[in-house]
Structures are given as structure tokens and as C-alpha cells.
């Protein structure tokens, strides 16, 4: 189970940004990517993501396994779009140019290829942003900066707890699964469906119940230390936002406005 992306401490300007700045950039990025279908904007976004990715000095091996999986999913998705609606592109762009006769009355059209290319770009420009965000953001610093940005600290803290306990729960899970497999439980598709559900239950049961115990233990410990008594708290790993934070925020907002104007000024998000 090592193919999960995780934070790695380095010293680049992206690592030094506060978690809140990076989150804001990421959210703006996602919104722009969701709204636009303008190929120029999408290509620019992919290029900027690639530059940011290079600047974060993320190593390929940190993300390669996940990236391959993402590629597989994208290929499947594009394939199914074609299977379900081979003329979706023609409907969107209002024209039809056949390139290739496949079979029956199914033709490969230029518009369909162009539409699916845009969908691919929409996925591609988010991926590097996510990789960089996850690899360069320290969870405790992130919780601190969320709280300083106005998120109630109970929520910020539960987010910190989530990130803190993912490896622990993962360990529990691996241990329980190994134990159950050693007892001869079949997890693959060789077993019948009811049997498979039963076998998964054999792992989920102990895992869920130990998690409920863990919730009790942790919340008792926090209660004993007076968590939640005051309206404010201080954070050990808090970092003051600097000039580069401001610069990134301004860039993100300007970019979003420019991209959306470029996308919508002709009245449709698809045409240019």
C-alpha cells in the first residue's frame, strides 16, 4: 500500500507558501477548469500546472503509480463517452465532419475527437495541481492556516486529525486484512458475490469497531486537555503569509477573471 501520495518536506518557494494560499489557488483552479471548455484556456492551464509541478521539485516516483491509474481511468472514461454518445461533439459544436467510417452507422467525427480532447485537458490540468498540493503541504501547518483564515478551529482540527490518522488506519487495515487472508478468506472475484461481501465484512467489522474505540480514546484525551473550552487556540506550526502568498493569490484571481472572460465573451463556453 505504498502507492499513496504523501507530504514530503523540501525547501522550495511552493513549500514555503501557507497551506491556505495553496488551497485557495487549488479551489480557484478547479472552478475555472470546471467552468471553461475553451481549448486555449485549457492548454494554458495544463502548461502552467506543468511549470508549477516542475518548480515544486516533485519526483516522478512519488506520483508515478497514481498517475498511471489516473491515465487508465481517463482512457476508460473517454472510451465510454464515445460508446454512449458518438455524436456528443457534433451536438455541442453544431457541425459534423466525418473522418472515418467505423461500423454500421457509427462514424468517427472531428467534432467528437475535439470534444473528447477537451475533456481530457480538463482532467489533465487538475492532476498536477493536486499532486503539488498534496506533496508540498504540511498537514499541521495546513490546519493552522485554515484556522487563521477564519475556519472554526474545531473543523480545522478535525481535518488535521483526518490527515494524521490516515496512516494509522491504513496500518490497522493492512494488519487485519493480512490476518483474515491468512485464515483463508478469498478477496478476489473467484468467490461468489454474497461470499465476497461476507469476506469484506470480515475486514470492515474489526476495522470499524477499532475505529470507534479510537474515537473514544482520542476524544477522551482531548477532553481531559480542555479542547474546545476557549474560542481561540494557538498553533505550533503556524506560518505567517509572506509576499509570495499575496503574489500567488493575486495571480490566481487575475488568471480566473481573464480565463472566464475569454471563455464566455462570445456567449458560449464551447466556442471561440
Amino acid at each position: 500500500m505504498t502507492r499513496m501520495i504523501s507530504y514530503e518536506a523540501r525547501d522550495t518557494w511552493i513549500h514555503r507558501l501557507t497551506g491556505f494560499t495553496k488551497l485557495m489557488f487549488f479551489i480557484i483552479w478547479c472552478i475555472v477548469s470546471a467552468l471553461t471548455f475553451d481549448t486555449r484556456v485549457l492548454v494554458t492551464m495544463v502548461a502552467i500546472s506543468a511549470v508549477i509541478f516542475a518548480m515544486s521539485r516533485t519526483e516522478w516516483k512519488q506520483i508515478s503509480a497514481v498517475f498511471k491509474l489516473l491515465m487508465l481511468f481517463m482512457t476508460l472514461n473517454l472510451f465510454f463517452i464515445f460508446v454512449f454518445a458518438p455524436y456528443q461533439g457534433c451536438e455541442i459544436y453544431g457541425t459534423r465532419t466525418d473522418i472515418l467510417h467505423l461500423f454500421g452507422d457509427v462514424y468517427l467525427t472531428k467534432e467528437q475527437l475535439f470534444y473528447e480532447f477537451n475533456v481530457l485537458l480538463k482532467y489533465l490540468n487538475i492532476a498536477p495541481a493536486i499532486f503539488v498540493f498534496l506533496v508540498t503541504t504540511d498537514p499541521s501547518e495546513f490546519a493552522a492556516s485554515l484556522n487563521k483564515a477564519g475556519v472554526p478551529y474545531t473543523f480545522a482540527y478535525s481535518f488535521a486529525i483526518a490527515l494524521r490518522y490516515i496512516p494509522d488506519v491504513q496500518d490497522d487495515f493492512t494488519r487485519i486484512r493480512n490476518a483474515q487472508e491468512a485464515r483463508g478468506i478469498e478477496m478476489s472475484s473467484k468467490a461468489s458475490l454474497p461470499a465476497r461481501i461476507k469476506n469484506v465484512a470480515a475486514i470492515i467489522f474489526p476495522l470499524l469497531f477499532s475505529t470507534m474505540d479510537r474515537i473514544d480514546v482520542v476524544s477522551n484525551a482531548m477532553e481531559l486537555r480542555g479542547f474546545g473550552k476557549k474560542n481561540k487556540r494557538t498553533w505550533y506550526s503556524y506560518r505567517r503569509p509572506g509576499k509570495s502568498d499575496a503574489a500567488v493569490m493575486i495571480f490566481a484571481v487575475l488568471f480566473a477573471v481573464a480565463a472566464l472572460v475569454l471563455t464566455y465573451y462570445d456567449g458560449s463556453r464551447f466556442l471561440f
Binding site: 502507492r3 499513496m4 501520495i5 478547479c30 470546471a34 506520483i63 497514481v66 498517475f67 491509474l69 489516473l70 481511468f73 476508460l76 465510454f80 463517452i81 454512449f84 454518445a85 456528443q88 455541442i92 470534444y115 480538463k122 487538475i126 492532476a127 493536486i130 499532486f131 498540493f133 498534496l134 474545531t154 482540527y157 478535525s158 481535518f159 486529525i161 483526518a162 494524521r164 490518522y165 490516515i166 494509522d168 488506519v169 491504513q170 487495515f173 472475484s189 458475490l193 465476497r196 461481501i197 469484506v200 465484512a201 475486514i203 470492515i204 467489522f205 470499524l208 469497531f209 475505529t211 470507534m212 479510537r214 474515537i215 473514544d216 482520542v218 476524544s219 482531548m222 479542547f227 474546545g228
Partner: protein
């Protein structure tokens, strides 16, 4: 519960999200429908929502799905993240009625009620919200996203109906037991 979240809920949100995220990769292939799998993590989400209520359920769904997507698949499908929160909130709204921690989740009536609620919450999430978001964001073909949505709904209703119900009944039996000493005969 007052306006501020109590400590148990803060912790449940955090650790629940961690559990949901870890279970992202655990899938039971359906077999007869290609490329679809039952997600046991949905049973965990239903259980957590039913025990801790709508806020915890919604946060676990939203955050857990987004984190799981990001950590394991390197992308976040927002159009499928928000429906997850809808399921958590929907099931959580009736948390008091199930009374899982008080040992009330043993009668047939409660179990049927829980399953009706989860089927409806899942229907709103996967047959309405998810396909509509897919169409708005990715302009994907309507028949594809509604077909996907339908199978997601079916899969989730099955896994929550079986695994979620068993988990809730088992926990209710353990948690609701009287811890008082009994007089020996």
C-alpha cells in the same frame, strides 16, 4: 447538541474521514456489470452518519471522497464528491430515530426505516445530483451519466443495505447493552 460541535463529533469527523479515505481502494467487483464495484466505504459512511448525525456524515462524505480521489487517483471528481455529502447528510438527518448507540437499532421497523432513508438519499445523490453535475461540468452525454448514476445508486443501496445494516445492528447490540451488574440467581 449546542451550536459548538462536541469533541466526540470533531474526532469522529477526523477519524471517520481517515477510515473512509483508506477504504477507497477496497472494492467488491459486481461481476455482471462491467467496470462497476460495490464500495464497502459507503457502508462505513452510512454507519458513521447514522451514529453521529448529518454534520459528521456530510463532512466525512465530502472530505473523505475528495481526499480519497486525490490520494489514490490523483484527481478530484467534484461532480461525484458533492453527492457523497448528500448521502451522509441525508442518512444523518434521522440519526436520532435509529438510536444506534442507545441500542435501538434492533427492531425490524427501525431497520426498514433506515433502509428507506438510505435508498432515497442515494437516489437524490446518484440519480439526480451526480449526473446533473457531470453534465454541467464536463458536458458529458446524458445517457452515459444517467446510466452510471443508476448503477452507482444500485451498488450503494446494495452495500449499505447489507453491510451497513449488519454493522449498525451489531454495534447497536454491543453499545446498547446494559453494563449494570445483575443479581446472580
Amino acid at each position: 447538541m449546542d451550536k459548538k460541535l462536541c469533541i466526540r463529533e470533531v474526532v469522529a469527523m477526523g477519524i471517520g474521514t481517515a477510515l473512509f479515505t483508506v477504504l477507497t481502494t477496497v472494492q467488491v467487483p459486481l461481476g455482471f456489470v462491467p467496470n462497476t464495484a460495490l464500495q464497502p466505504r459507503m457502508a462505513v459512511l452510512a454507519f458513521m452518519s447514522a451514529v453521529f448525525g448529518p454534520i459528521v456524515g456530510g463532512v466525512i462524505g465530502l472530505l473523505g471522497h475528495a481526499l480519497g480521489d486525490a490520494l489514490f487517483y490523483g484527481s478530484v471528481w467534484w461532480s461525484w464528491v458533492f453527492p457523497e455529502a448528500v448521502v451522509g447528510v441525508g442518512i444523518g438527518l434521522f440519526a436520532r430515530k435509529y438510536a444506534i448507540k442507545e441500542g435501538g437499532f434492533v427492531s425490524t421497523k427501525t431497520i426498514v426505516f433506515f433502509n428507506v432513508v438510505q435508498a432515497v438519499a442515494n437516489a437524490i445523490a446518484w440519480i439526480v445530483v451526480a449526473p446533473v453535475l457531470d453534465i454541467l461540468v464536463y458536458a458529458e452525454p446524458a445517457n452515459k451519466v444517467f446510466a452510471q448514476g443508476f448503477f452507482a445508486w444500485l451498488g450503494n443501496v446494495i452495500i449499505i443495505g447489507i453491510l451497513g445494516t449488519i454493522l449498525a445492528v451489531a454495534y447497536s447490540k454491543v453499545a446498547g447493552q446494559s453494563r449494570d451488574l445483575k443479581k446472580e440467581d
